[in-house]
């Protein structure tokens, strides 16, 4: 089955060769430019190299990338497999033989969506029969750079980096990547859909075949309308619609009045973005099950794709692309988070035993009753005790172990001081970062608010939305959160943003807006966990019952903004670096959380 791609596989060589149409790159660029122009987002100034660069650098492109994981050279022998992740989709190769030079030659077409993810991450795992497989090396490919490449060779050898030791190369992987020419995609698409209903296989559609096609696209149009469309498509009036005529009809009609409303393969509703996005979707759907896709897929993250078979037996049904979010967050044993920088889903690392105990305590009536009968005091006392411990000189011994446990989530290169300069664990926990480690977006513009912490963020236009999608505690209210002193009607229907910090995070919080600090109001309370398991529980009211400090910032651009620092189990100490009346700039440090009560 042809893909319309310019790729052709090599024979026995470990690196395949590709046919080298001299005009491929320029043709692709030209058609990309045309596409952009057609979709109304071009500037209409022609295709100078500058505008071409701008085009490629922007997210305004939809198309198909064909990525092939050819093989790797590793530093030891094992059975290997590789994964490729783009956004919320992960695919994996088969497992190689026991070797240090695994050969996969596995390919997958990936959908590049407008404004979607464009950096593909490739990971190589060694396998274990019973336990989970180990990530050994990874690399990343910016697929937009593939578009920009002048070379006709589509394959390259990339260094595989150690996930725990930055800049350490652990092997090499041979990868090829091509971006399919959108013109080829359009032609291929017309050919494929024509073949669905071309029952007599003459390469043409009769009126009845054409009618069936319209039905297959979920379009409930009257028979007379179908006839009208058929006549419009049959430009030469021979009583049949050819592939070219169908392609033209789809191109014109889809922009006027969408003909393709749903995908005949997966049933997904189309027409949400633009015609090219829909066509790419359909092309990829038609590919499924044709044998062209050697990699297996359906995983959300590379960790999921790498689980050993015993884990799969118990967890497989938990995950699908529709299972992200509330249910996964509160009931599955792994919490999924969307990484804004890489546009990928990542799994949060939490000990399974902790997840189980949190669920037992926070998601059941029995757990709640335990909390009511003295556990609140216990949490307070544990937190105070932990605070004293983490302020002791001995606690500094925990720092290297902590960094090792969260090895791919703590970037020590960002930290202002070296490990030996931290005299206690708490000093490390509230570590400062180097001045340029966190660039502030539009620093000079006070009308743009920024994120207040390295965190997992939830944002809701209204409190109703926050209750619908996230906060399940039955007693949650804005009055309860802010306290009567601060709360006013403008906040009751206001916008809510939640920044949740995990243990490995940088624990200082910053100003999201510029203005003047009006006041601080300390509200005493419990120290429940702020994990989604508790926030998503109807039995627990974390935000309105936990210890917190409410501060009000008066701003020119946003009016009054309330900033609430909420303590949690063990991390219940809140320190501010500013005082009432201070003028503050967005991005400036405001304070930090540390171990203690």
């Amino acid at each position: 089955m042809g893909h319309g791609s310019s790729k052709s596989n090599g024979s026995d060589s470990s690196v395949p060769t590709f046919d080298s149409k001299p005009s491929r790159v320029s043709r692709l660029r030209h058609s990309l430019h045309l596409h952009r122009h057609r979709s109304g987002s071009g500037n209409g100034r022609g295709s100078s190299s500058f505008s071409q660069q701008k085009l490629l650098a922007s997210d305004d492109f939809a198309g198909i990338a064909l990525i092939t994981l050819i093989g790797a050279e590793m530093k030891f022998k094992d059975k290997w497999f590789a994964c490729v992740t783009l956004g919320e989709r992960t695919f994996r190769t088969a497992t190689s033989d026991h070797t240090d030079k695994p050969l996969w030659k596995s390919e997958k077409k990936l959908l590049l969506e407008r404004k979607g993810p464009h950096i593909a991450r490739i990971s190589v795992f060694e396998t274990n029969i019973l336990s989970k497989n180990n990530l050994v090396g990874y690399c990343e490919i910016d697929l937009f750079q593939v578009l920009d490449r002048d070379s006709d060779s589509d394959s390259e050898v990339l260094d595989l980096l150690d996930p725990s030791l930055p800049n350490t190369v652990v092997g090499k992987i041979s990868v090829s990547c091509t971006i399919e020419d959108p013109v080829d995609t359009e032609k291929s698409f017309a050919r494929r859909i024509l073949s669905i209903v071309d029952y007599n296989q003459d390469g043409m559609l009769s009126l009845s075949e054409f009618s069936d096609l319209i039905d297959a696209f979920g379009n409930q149009v009257a028979a007379s309308k179908k006839e009208e469309l058929f006549k419009a498509a049959d430009q030469n009036g021979d009583g049949n619609v050819s592939m070219d005529e169908l392609a033209i009809l789809l191109a014109i009609q889809q922009e006027k009045e969408p003909l393709v409303n749903s995908c005949p393969v997966c049933g997904e509703i189309l027409g949400k973005y633009d015609r090219l996005n829909d066509m790419v979707h359909l092309t990829l759907c038609f590919d499924e099950g044709t044998g062209n896709q050697v990699m297996t897929g359906g995983f959300l993250t590379e960790k999921q794709a790498s689980y050993g078979w015993i884990f799969k037996m118990s967890e497989w049904t938990h995950f699908s692309s529709y299972d992200v979010g509330l249910n996964a967050g509160s009931s599955a044993s792994h919490i999924l988070v969307f990484d804004r920088k890489t546009k990928r889903l990542v799994e949060e690392l939490i000990d399974g035993k902790i997840v189980l105990s949190m669920r037992a305590i926070y998601q059941s009536k029995i757990g709640l009753s335990i909390i009511d009968t003295g556990a609140k005091d216990l949490l307070q006392s544990i937190s105070e005790k932990q605070g004293r411990r983490m302020n002791s000189v001995e606690s500094a011994e925990e720092i290297p172990k902590f960094i090792e446990f969260f090895k791919d989530q703590i970037n020590m290169a960002d930290v202002k001081y070296t490990i030996d300069q931290f005299k206690t664990f708490n000093e490390f926990f509230v570590r400062e970062l180097k001045p340029d480690a966190r660039p502030i977006a539009y620093k000079e513009r006070d009308d743009i608010a920024v994120c207040a912490a390295d965190s997992r963020l939830m944002a809701f236009k209204s409190i109703e939305d926050s209750l619908r999608f996230w906060i399940k505690g039955r007693k949650f209210s804005i009055q309860g959160l802010l306290g009567n002193d601060v709360c006013s009607t403008t906040f009751v229907n206001g916008t809510l943003v939640i920044f949740r910090l995990a243990p490995q995070d940088y624990h200082r919080f910053h100003f999201p807006v510029s203005g003047t600090i009006e006041r601080f109001v300390a509200i005493p309370g419990c120290l429940y966990t702020v994990n989604p398991i508790a926030v998503n529980s109807k039995y627990c009211n974390v935000f309105t019952e936990n210890k917190r400090v409410v501060s009000v910032i008066s701003t020119e651009e946003f009016g009054k903004v309330v900033f609430i620092a909420i303590g949690a189990t063990m991390v219940g100490s809140i320190t501010f670096l500013k005082k009432e009346g201070d003028l503050v700039q967005k991005g400036e440090e405001f304070g930090y959380f540390s171990f203690g009560g």
Binding site: R340, A441, F499, R500, F558, A568
Partner: protein
């Protein structure tokens, strides 16, 4: 620990990607200083 910010009604347009993820009950991993949203007051003036 957690920080919660409450903005007055109609004071801010939060970035679309953050709202979309939240509407899927999916947290978004962010860093200090990343754009959160734009003042509606300024946007209204610009629109005028």
């Amino acid at each position: 620990s957690t920080v919660v910010c409450v903005f007055e009604k109609d004071a801010i347009d939060i970035d679309e990607d953050l709202l979309l993820n939240s509407a899927r009950s999916l947290e978004t991993l962010v860093s200090v200083g990343m754009q959160l949203g734009v003042s509606r007051k300024k946007r209204a003036v610009n629109d005028l």
